[in-house]
């Protein structure tokens, strides 16, 4: 069998299977013409490798080490790494608001949502603003599901004494859910997560479609029972000031 040029090259480059390599070797033993080609090309490979070998042993210039150590890393990668580390599980420790859940929810939520409903305070807190803030302040879950805008889930007093509400805002094809707590005249977002994807016409009770991260956060934050309709109205009427 006359080997193709490609096959000879693959032999030189070590790309054949062990059996094929052995077959080629025995063939070459009887074909000095092909063996000469293989020898010449192998010599070329060796010369190339030798010429460039010293580069591998050179000291790496410091500015390249610095580039690896301190070039900015993709924010999306860092966020994803964080999410993986936190695994987004609603298994929460007993204390206050678990930082892992918070981080996990926040980062994820921000991607799905246009920033108009949220802003970052100078202190680094995420605050609800615009329509969402208005809905948190005014809207009553007991009044039923609104046709548009933010839907309110449960309202409750948290362990630090703040009034907090879970919410769901629908975006284009995706939604964002979270928990916001009243501090002064601000709604501080404690947890934010991707909500269920939008299936038009399939409205459910807001409380049941909250993602597990949000439900888990609520159950770890809550002091006592969620507000009933009367308590919700009373809390709103006093401006969510929990005395």
């Amino acid at each position: 069998m006359e080997p193709s040029k490609d096959r000879l090259d693959a032999f030189i480059d070590g790309q054949l299977s062990v059996t094929e390599m052995q077959e080629m070797e025995s063939l070459l033993a009887n074909r000095p013409d092909l063996a000469a080609y293989v020898e010449r090309q192998s010599r070329l490979r060796a010369r190339l490798a030798e010429a460039f070998a010293p580069v591998i042993d050179e000291a790496i210039p410091q500015h390249l080490r610095d580039a690896v150590a301190s070039s900015p890393v993709s924010a999306r990668f860092r966020a994803a790494a964080w999410l993986r580390a936190a695994a987004c599980t609603p298994v929460l420790p007993r204390l206050a608001i678990p930082a892992a859940t918070l981080a996990c929810g926040l980062l994820l939520g921000m991607w799905f949502r246009a920033p108009s409903d949220f802003q970052t305070s100078s202190g680094g807190q995420v605050l609800a603003q615009g329509e969402l803030a208005a809905a948190l302040t005014e809207r009553l879950a007991s009044a039923g599901t609104p046709k548009t805008g933010a839907r309110i889930g449960v309202s409750f007093r948290d362990r630090t004494g703040r009034d907090c509400r879970s919410f769901l805002v629908a975006g284009r094809g995706a939604s964002t859910a979270g928990v916001a707590c009243r501090e002064g005249s601000d709604w501080v977002v404690a947890v934010l997560a991707a909500g269920p994807s939008q299936t038009p016409g399939a409205y459910q009770q807001a409380g049941t479609e909250m993602p597990p991260v949000v439900r888990g956060a609520v159950s770890s934050m809550i002091e006592g029972e969620p507000f009933d309709a009367a308590a919700e109205r009373a809390a709103r009427d006093r401006g969510w000031k929990s005395n």
Partner: protein
Amino acid sequence: MDASLDPIRNQMVALLPRLRRFALSLTANRADADDLVQDTVERALANLHRWERGTKLDSWMFRIAQNLFIDGARARKRARMVVSETLEAAGNVATDGMRAAEAHIALTDMCRALGELPEEQRSAVALVLIDGMSYRDAAAVLGIPIGTLTSRLARAREALAVRVLGEAKSAGA
């Protein structure tokens, strides 16, 4: 800053020698090579979310370097700049002794020979003949079918052998 990144940064540092060699075999010029490596590292970190975990970091970074090199080559062509053929290979290599001097000359000669190849052939040679990648990995880096890779290699081999080793004795051929 972020400890979860340390393993990736360490992998990148470990890759730097190979990346420098690859960049030098593409650019045939010391200064351009290290610029290319620096750009590659920055681009890789800034786009780290595009790297699929579990796939080879080296292949991905080589691919970035290759693309940056091609983009740079296109830009030079567009600007109709004359690329200087002078080789700035002098550097850490040729400092002392005959051996070092010989090594330096060998590298300079080889860079010059590679520099005369079309860029697409140079990339194939750099990956397979110099870095020693498998056909499959090299084709993935270049984003071309294996058959295209091997035909580029075949053309490069002929040209390079004549430049580096001289004319073949017409024994069998």
